[in-house]
Symmetry: C2
């Protein structure tokens, strides 16, 4: 029998009935699985809290996700509201405070089942943008759900580009009110969560007009539906935008306003206000508020994006240790698919990527905290760098994680296409993150703008921010590796990533400069370089992730086994990235043909080494079966039993098949006499 | 006003109300759009037939897809059955024959709405594997839908590897029956379409046992449900496998058999039969049957895979000509997103890919037809090459098309995430093709096996099949291009693709050989080279697609404008592939750093050139609005109007919101006194 050892306290472990093909994978991990779990959780104490939360969520039937894959949009929405209120009540009873670790782990486990996500943004925007009086009036109401709010910014015709928003708020001195209008169809608010069927109030962003002059975007807190019967207020048209690729739990909505009047006091006025006589007054700096936007991205990466990749790896790797197919050796029983090099090459780089982003998020959290402290002290120096970093890391993390989840899903073959595997919904949900919280191409070009600026500064001999220090390098020579094992030296691959980022940025900068010198306008030149600029920003972000993974390794130098396995994952992440982008690394002969062969061999030889620990490495994520909600990925590996049990519960098997009576029976009768 | 000119007869064109942003894109196509449509359709006559069919489908409310994105799995299934019968009746009335062009275009337009796809495979398998008596008995019943059939091959635990299938058929001489059994859970038939809720009969594949000896997989025709009341026959357990990522119209099912008896006459016995005394008798060659499998792949590529990419390009390009965002030039109105280089670089390579695969499918159809004729004459020489080609092209077409569709979807930003855009379901459906009809990695390795064999033959100086003639080359030098426009010379890029395929195959072959010489077993060595072998097979297939696109250009040399635009698309396809895989092309200095810069520039400079014709190029596909079923992609470009109109029809806006009464109202009441 397998030793349950360190998983004793995991809510998954029932002590029996584990598929022997999976049990054997857990026999000899090269490292202490529990210790790695603690590292990932941020300490043994947090592991304990998470397990308490997971065990409770798994045991309470209110949170059951058993029927999730069979539910309609309507049922998902109703369930999300119900669970949200139930959780709030329970947390209260348990004494788990808002913002504490218990809540964090609840949300982590339940996010795709919850409502009121944007209600929370509504709340935070009042706290961030409102005056003390506004906060005192509205926040308690929203916290107790006496009102439900939404944050209405994007419009049907306008997304990322805020200046293009069309909604207007015109101040009427006579009545001391703003008159809000949707001047065209494309100006309709579109997409805000919790708006479609829930919200009574909204923070609406609109162009402020005072005496005919536009003062730009401002936030207005307004009521949109009746608290008594939920009907839209006069002048308000509101509804649900219909089905999406996922997020059925969320009622994304539309909102049209026709001469809706909002009292002067309802413009959120921490940073600017309109005086009774219609004068405009700016006050303070909204830079700290700008930080809030960045922290949302960092939080989203940690609690949603990377987590989803971890889940997909868990499901696909466990399944691949159980699924058998074809002969690897003639006469042998069918082999585990995890033993095929092609399968290892699909899954293990995703696993390494998941670990890489875990540490990248830690790094981002740390420098965000520093920036937050400094900003509060009135020092804003870190902000541009932080913004560029957060944008770049957001892009690489969402792109790599979503494509990685899809690689995992496809690697599970036909069964990965069944909703019951859990994988399709992980992908369809995660991929949205490439678009929300800043569309990825737009963000990359923002990072590129920062990099180009730093590149020019470095060229002029000026000091540059830490994360782009390499831009001051005079030149990069050739790669120094002599043999393939040199490529498992972090100094070697960090140098490779650094010179790649440098070279790509430099060549985009040179092109940009020469276009401008040839008379192309600044903007046209920027556009004609934008593909290369975006790629340079990606290469920069890639370098940061590699470097931060290497730096994180240092914390574990004393723990040999942990250090060794993390180092292998770090090597794999770095080498896989080189393998896939070899052309970038070969520019100017930085890598020779012989060296590219060493990279490839070094990369491929890591696969069977890490494969031995593949199951322990995903076990270390310690997801409860309930939170995976996958017939393929449960801890016990009883894949086929679960697929069959779950399929039987499908409504298609529970209902009478009317199609037979109506369409088939009249035809089939004709065969009776002939068979 | 825009000139409707050549689109007069398209069912989309209503003559008015086209969004001016889209209308202007149609003003000056560089080529005759109608001519290109005819080329794509395979002649003006076929265009005419297709339009007749499309117009009819678009006008008949029975085929309306208006509510498709709001429907449950159950409703989609019911609709598919209803439409299938309706279509069969109508086709009969119209005199549109089975297998004729009208039917082809009906299926093309309606495939995702139809049932009985696997019923047709059932029918064909009887025709292919049955004796004349079996065909005479069963085919007429199935053709008239007096019985409904399915093709039950894959099992819960077994997919691509047929020898691993577990279902058994044991002959009982006493009763002259086969006894069919599902010996374990993993042996349950799983996935067959039309099985879950429809089929009365099935062709079941099982290991044939005669007197205790296994004779391998054979097909058995058996009844599984009552024709009277549709209940499962004794010993049969059957049902639906539950929800999937798409294909809600299909009732994929499971089937378990316990001592189900099938008369001896029901083993499909064209190629082997069991005599009354239990003797086994083989007869004839099943090679022609093997061809059937290949033709299914070719047909699937043409009628489903490539078509889906064409649709996604149509939607995303039309939307990008209408959607405006941000300033390209300060002070100007927001720019069309299609004018951004980053957007062009997302969409236009997909468009080029769509055209490339169109011609690749034509090539495959042609050589398939040759092979079919030869095989009927008893010549089987072409079969291994055809199999390798069809496998490789299936893989590259499904991989590139599905990732291309997803690129198109993401390029539409938030609205691409709405089901109403039509894009999510195009992706979730298409991506299944990477797994069905042969899992892609498995297929690539089959192609690789053929290539390795040919490589060895070429080395020995033996003649090799036409498509791999390049393996006989002694060596490839360096790329001859001197300046960037040289990369728009097909000879230059064909040579580049050819040497890449050669080099990748050679290095995999050398590694394979040296592992074996070092004492690694054949199978282990194959496994350790499999990543590189699969890539070599991909590179070979890529080369074939490029070369066939170039060859197709020759047919249009007389038609200057058509030739010019197709040549640009061909260049773009070839250069984009080089740009993305630059490392492969730089091996051994085939491309220098300077030449890679030329490739990049040459590629990027093509984008704005093709962009001018982007809308006419997708108009040439001539999809009816009904078949696109997209709020973003209609011919008239009235994107925002349609999104809003469609959203309003969502059931979430039609039903009373019970959530308010149950959960929200009791809380909101508390705010009444405070606001």
């Amino acid at each position: 029998m397998e030793k349950p050892n360190l998983h004793k306290i995991s809510p998954n472990f029932t002590g029996q009935g584990v598929n022997p093909d999976l049990a054997i994978e857990r026999k000899n991990p090269s490292f202490n699985v529990e210790r790695l779990t603690n590292i990932l959780d941020g300490g043994a104490e947090r592991t304990q809290i998470r397990r308490t939360v997971d065990a409770w969520l798994q045991s309470d039937p209110e949170f059951s996700r058993e029927n999730q894959y069979f539910q309609s949009q309507n049922e998902r929405y109703e369930g999300a509201i119900r669970k949200s209120f139930y959780l709030a009540k329970k947390m209260n009873e348990m004494g788990w405070v808002e913002g504490g670790p218990h809540q964090e782990f609840c949300f982590r486990a339940l996010s795709s089942d919850m409502a009121f996500n944007v209600h929370r943004v509504f709340l935070k925007s009042i706290m961030g943008l409102g005056t003390d009086e506004q906060i005192a009036k509205w926040v308690p109401l929203a916290e107790k759900f006496y009102i439900a709010g939404t944050y209405a910014q994007t419009e049907l015709g306008h997304g990322t580009y805020l200046r293009g928003l069309e909604t207007t708020a015109t101040f009427d001195v006579a009545t001391q009110e703003f008159i809000l209008n949707t001047p065209s169809l494309s100006a309709m608010k579109w997409w805000p969560g919790d708006l479609g069927r829930t919200a009574t109030h909204a923070v609406v962003f609109a162009q402020l007009y005072l005496k005919g002059k536009c003062y730009g975007m401002h936030p207005f807190l307004m009521q949109i539906r009746s608290l008594r019967d939920h009907s839209p207020l006069p002048g308000v048209t509101v509804g649900d935008i219909g089905p999406k690729m996922n997020f059925e739990n969320v009622d994304n909505g539309f909102l049209m306003l026709k001469n809706v009047r909002v009292p002067r006091e309802n413009m959120l006025a921490r940073f600017s206000q309109v005086l009774p006589d219609g004068q405009y007054k700016k006050q303070g700096s909204d830079k700290i508020n700008y930080l809030t936007m960045i922290v949302v991205r960092v939080y989203m990466l940690r609690s949603e994006v990377v987590l989803t990749l971890l889940k997909a790896c868990t499901i696909a790797i466990r399944y691949s240790a159980v699924r058998r197919q074809s002969e690897l050796k003639p006469g042998d029983p069918e082999a585990k698919i995890l033993d095929y090099q092609t399968q290892q090459q699909k899954l293990l780089p995703q696993l390494a990527t998941a670990y890489a982003f875990h540490f990248a998020c830690q790094y981002m959290t740390k420098i965000f905290e520093r920036a937050y402290t400094e900003t509060k002290e009135g020092k804003f120096d870190l902000l541009p760098e932080l913004h560029a970093l957060a944008s770049g890391i957001k892009v690489i993390a969402t792109e790599y994680s979503s494509s990685g989840v899809e690689v995992c899903r496809k690697a599970c073959g036909g069964h990965g296409y069944s909703l019951l595997s859990g994988l399709p919904s992980l992908y369809t949900r995660l991929v949205a993150s490439c678009t929300y919280e800043g569309e990825n191409t737009v963000l990359l070009l923002q990072t590129a703008r920062f990099l180009i600026k730093c590149f020019a500064m470095a060229k002029d001999g000026q000091p540059v921010p830490m994360s782009v220090a390499y831009l001051s390098s005079k030149n990069f020579g050739k790669c120094q590796a002599q043999e393939k094992r040199d490529f498992q030296n972090p100094d070697v691959y960090i140098d490779a990533y650094r010179q790649r980022a440098f070279r790509m940025l430099r060549s985009a900068a040179i092109k940009l400069q020469s276009l401008i010198q040839l008379g192309t306008t600044q903007h046209e030149a920027w556009n004609r370089c934008s593909v290369q600029l975006a790629q340079a920003a990606m290469a920069h972000s890639h370098y940061i992730v590699v470097e931060q993974f290497v730096k994180a390794l240092q914390w574990y130098e004393e723990e040999l086994a942990i250090h060794r396995i993390l180092k292998r994952l770090c090597d794999l992440f770095a080498l896989h990235g080189m393998y896939l982008n070899m052309g970038d690394f070969m520019q100017d002969g930085y890598l020779s043909t012989e060296q590219t062969a060493m990279v490839t061999e070094s990369y491929l030889e890591l696969l069977p080494v890490i494969r031995k620990d593949a199951v322990p490495l995903v076990d270390a994520f310690d997801f409860s079966d309930a939170s995976l909600n996958s017939a393929l990925g449960s801890y016990d590996g009883r894949v086929y039993e679960r697929l069959y049990e779950w399929a039987k519960k499908s409504p298609t098997n529970q209902q009478k098949n009317q199609v037979f009576e109506t369409y088939l029976k009249p035809l089939f009768q004709n065969a009776l006499s002939k068979l």
